[in-house]
């Protein structure tokens, strides 16, 4: 794909201004492709979740709109778009408007550093992994501000809960990925995937099993999903931080949450499961798999992790808040620190 881009660039001649224009054009096309595909994926992730959980609970899930309810996300989107936009009295209007935008933007910006297959990434930067952390910490502002600006006690409590939860688990998540950084000796996501290709196990999930475990738990808490969905606990807080949001502003929070899930699944696929590659021993055993494009492997891994999200949601009850904090600070962070020390020793001695 990059060869085609390069061919267009060469054909345009030597003029640097034209070359710059073409480069910007290519980036814009890439952004449009990634955003379009991701948002469609996010819409159908909601449909898939309702179907999966429905069948796990011996229901059918959405079935009325289209073939097996296949048009349900579109019907939901149209409904949300035409709903009345209600703003509570005494809400802090600028921040009330800004909060869902920050939440959504921070989730979508993270997409720019994810390599979907070899060579296809919008911005191939050296600090890819750190950029993802920075954007996920920005997302916390959307949650806290929505809770504060709504001027409602349910929103406020949800916002506070979300803030302390996200900050606590961000530490665990960051530390769990340090092992991966050490093994790949890079922060660039494409280089991390290439390092896994060279590793005998083919993926870091096997040598970094402790880090992978910590990452999975922290990823659930970071995206406010069950069993850690205390910020939006229905039976205590109505809907938590987005209680007062209606219509399309609510849809932005909803989309942001599912985009964040998709990004967490992508980080898991890229940093622990080998991204667009499959382990070499499988490749040697079944050489015909070489013809399968890398994006297929990447998507299979991402979907598997998304399915795991739904599976856990249908299976586990919610934790208490003190249990949530105890798991984060007393189990996950020490485990992640231990994993870093262990990885360091193995790197020195082996």
């Amino acid at each position: 794909m990059n060869d085609i881009f390069q061919f267009i660039g060469n054909a345009a001649g030597m003029n640097p201004m034209i070359k710059l224009g073409i480069d910007i054009g290519i980036i814009l096309v890439k952004i449009a492709v990634v955003l379009g595909i991701t948002l469609l994926h996010v819409a159908y992730a909601t449909y898939w979740e309702r179907k999966v959980i429905g069948h796990m609970q011996v229901r059918l899930g959405p079935i009325e709109v289209g073939w097996h309810g296949f048009l349900q996300p579109i019907a939901d989107g149209v409904k949300l778009f035409f709903k009345e936009d209600i703003i509570p009295a005494n809400a802090d209007k600028p921040l009330f408007y800004l909060a869902p935008v920050i939440f959504m933007v921070s989730a979508l910006t993270s997409l720019s550093v994810l390599p979907f297959f070899d060579g296809f990434v919008i911005a191939d930067i050296n600090i890819g992994l750190l950029f993802l952390f920075a954007m996920s910490s920005l997302g916390a502002y959307g949650i806290i501000l929505s809770g504060w600006a709504s001027n409602s006690k349910y929103s406020f409590l949800g916002g506070l809960r979300a803030a302390s939860q996200v900050i606590s688990y961000e530490i665990a998540m960051g530390l769990s990925l340090v092992g991966v950084m050490m093994m790949a000796s890079s922060l660039n996501l494409s280089d991390i995937v290439r390092a896994q290709q060279q590793h005998p196990a083919g993926m870091f999930a096997i040598p970094q099993f402790l880090g992978f475990f910590v990452f999975i738990v922290a990823a659930f808490a970071e995206t406010n999903r069950l069993p850690f969905d205390l910020p939006e606990a229905e039976n205590e807080l109505v809907a938590g931080y987005f209680t007062e949001y209606s219509g399309f502003r609510f849809a932005l929070f909803f989309l942001g949450e599912y985009t964040a899930m998709l990004i967490m699944s992508s980080i898991a696929a890229l940093c622990f499961l080998g991204g667009w590659t499959i382990p070499k021993f499988i490749m040697d055993a079944m050489p015909f798999l070489l013809n399968v494009p890398g994006i297929v492997w990447f998507l299979i891994k991402v979907y598997a992790f998304m399915f795991f999200y739904y599976w856990v949601r249908a299976t586990f009850p919610r934790y208490r808040y003190d249990q949530l904090m105890a798991i984060g600070w007393k189990i996950l962070i020490p485990l992640a620190l231990f994993n870093i020390v262990l990885t360091g020793f193995i790197k020195i001695w082996v």
Binding site: I127, F133, L160, I167
Partner: protein, 171 residues
């Protein structure tokens, strides 16, 4: 030309946002302008090819410290600025000190001489990547200052724990 334009934008934006931070009457709005300010400082670091410092600036300052600021503000529930004489009565002294500081800085700036170019040129950083170069330097040449900094942080952590513990014991 383009680089001067970028620097001019970041520098003026930082000054404007700093002014907005200190003049807003709603503290939560101040924090939001400060968030924008931190992003522009990170942009300035990126402009200097210091990508690692830029990312850390966002993660640590915007992602952790400013969120804690916001936490405190939410607990206090300040919708409007407090104007008590005790807090703002000393403004002439503050004005004097800041003006003196400004005069000192301005008079020093004129005798500023850029140091000789060392080993860490932009080409070297680009080849080595900023994170790796910084890490190597921090853990070899500057290991002792680095360890002292970590010790200072450890003292702060222990101090916080001791203060928090004593309160619960006296109850």
């Amino acid at each position: 030309m383009l680089s001067e334009l970028f620097f001019g934008y970041y520098a003026s934006a930082i000054v404007i946002f700093s002014l907005l931070v200190v003049t807003r009457s709603n503290p939560v709005h101040s924090v939001m302008w400060m968030l924008l300010l931190f992003f522009h400082i990170a942009g300035l670091y990126l402009f200097l090819n210091a990508e690692f410092v830029a990312a850390i600036q966002i993660i640590v300052y915007a992602g952790a410290i400013l969120v804690l600021f916001l936490f405190i503000l939410l607990f206090l529930n300040l919708r409007e600025e407090l104007k008590v004489k005790r807090f703002i009565g000393a403004w002439p002294a503050g004005l004097f000190v800041t003006t003196a500081l400004l005069v000192i800085v301005l008079s020093v700036v004129r005798s500023f001489v850029p140091g000789p170019a060392g080993k860490y040129s932009i080409e070297f950083i680009k080849q080595e990547t900023h994170t790796k170069a910084l890490g190597k330097l921090l853990y070899t040449d500057y290991l002792f200052p680095f360890e002292i900094a970590s010790l200072v942080l450890l003292v702060a952590i222990i101090g916080a724990i001791v203060l928090a513990k004593r309160k619960t014991r006296s109850k």
